[in-house]
Amino acid sequence: MEPIRISALVHLLKDILEASEVLSDLWVLGEVSNASRSRLGHRYFTLKDDDGLLRSVLFRDDMPGSMVTDGERILAHGRVTVYPQRGELQFVCDFFRPEGVGLQAARFEQLHARLEAEGLFELSRKRALPAYPRRIGLVTSPTGAALQDVRNVLAQRWPLTELVLSPALVQGEQAAASVVDALRTLAEDPALDLAIVARGGGGSEDLSAFNDEAVVRTIFGFPIPVVTGIGHETDTSLADLAADVRAPTPSAAAQRATPDATEVAAQIRALDSAMAARARAGIAARTAQLQAAGARVRHAAPSPRRGAERVAALSARVQIALETRLAAERAAVERTDAQLAALDPANTLARGYAIVERLGKRRRVVRRVKDVKGGNRVAVAVGDGAFWAEVS
């Protein structure tokens, strides 16, 4: 057998290692030693435990600004390769966290960093939601409270839509694949103009399905805008970050996805009134014009008379239209009275909310934390009155 050249051999070993799926995407746990940073910004270190060690590198562009510290035990993600010039086994790390973080959290952070670098969470990629959605897809459990919540909000707020439920498991091991499946089924519906991915709050804080890479990518690549309403108290899931709009609960997602029919009706009423006012003003102006013309032109010119007849006819048309309007208006006002009562701030205050107003020269209602400074005097209105307080 011919002798094999060293460089060919080390490259062969490198190719063998790099062809391994396991070795190209793995987490290792070890203690850092011999940590140093090269002039180019690469960080070299050794990872070891009781019985073995592995030369490691964290290249400049991965986790720039982070440094490994001698003696620290870390969870590191990366791949195993051969450094041919030295014939050394090398671990090319691309992400690490202290051991105490735990593998699940470290995995989450690594995926977060990777998808973020890829642009999946970019605000500039978020799409606007349709103004008046006609057909809304919903991915959630067919037996969960989320479905009922979304239904209720839509029925109340914007019933001019069709809700298409694409059932999915939202918890457990098969949840991620099931959510991807349900989304893909929805994507085949060409009439759909919005999708909601929802999960009820409940006891479980298991969000793993919504932190799954395939789920996140499917949401990101979805052909129409996606709103998430994944009920959980603390963390934001990666699915939330990739969605066009994220809401804290299924109900809130349904709310973000739709206009309020009561408000839309009010806008239509306003347009209607503006048009009616214009039409009336037009008639009045023309009548005045004709009267002036009639006064000026004494002899029997037929045109002002014809003009007056035309205006009278138009005026009658408008009159009829206005009366119809007026009747519809009255009915609409009666309908909205009850809805307006629900919007009355006094009712909100009675439920335990408060309105805080900053006192002093520039008196104003406090909407956000930065509206007040320590020492500011404020008036707090509650259900049965008001009191003063000082911000500390």
Partner: protein, 80 residues
Amino acid sequence: MAEPSFEELVAQLEERAKKLEAGNIPLEESIGIYEEGAALVDKLRGLLDSAELRVQRLQGRIQDERTPNDGPSPPPDAGN
């Protein structure tokens, strides 16, 4: 031809309102525009008043599983 969508009807209404707002059109024409606008308003009101949410369920690949933390199951859909 498909029925115009709510969005299209609103756009048509807004266009009529804008035309009237701009003025400088003959009176007769403006009354015509107003009548068109009023018809659109009636149509939109009708849609808003009569709408009822429709729910459709696609066939998923999942069994009728129960997720204990996910609350009570909804009533079955009428007409689906």
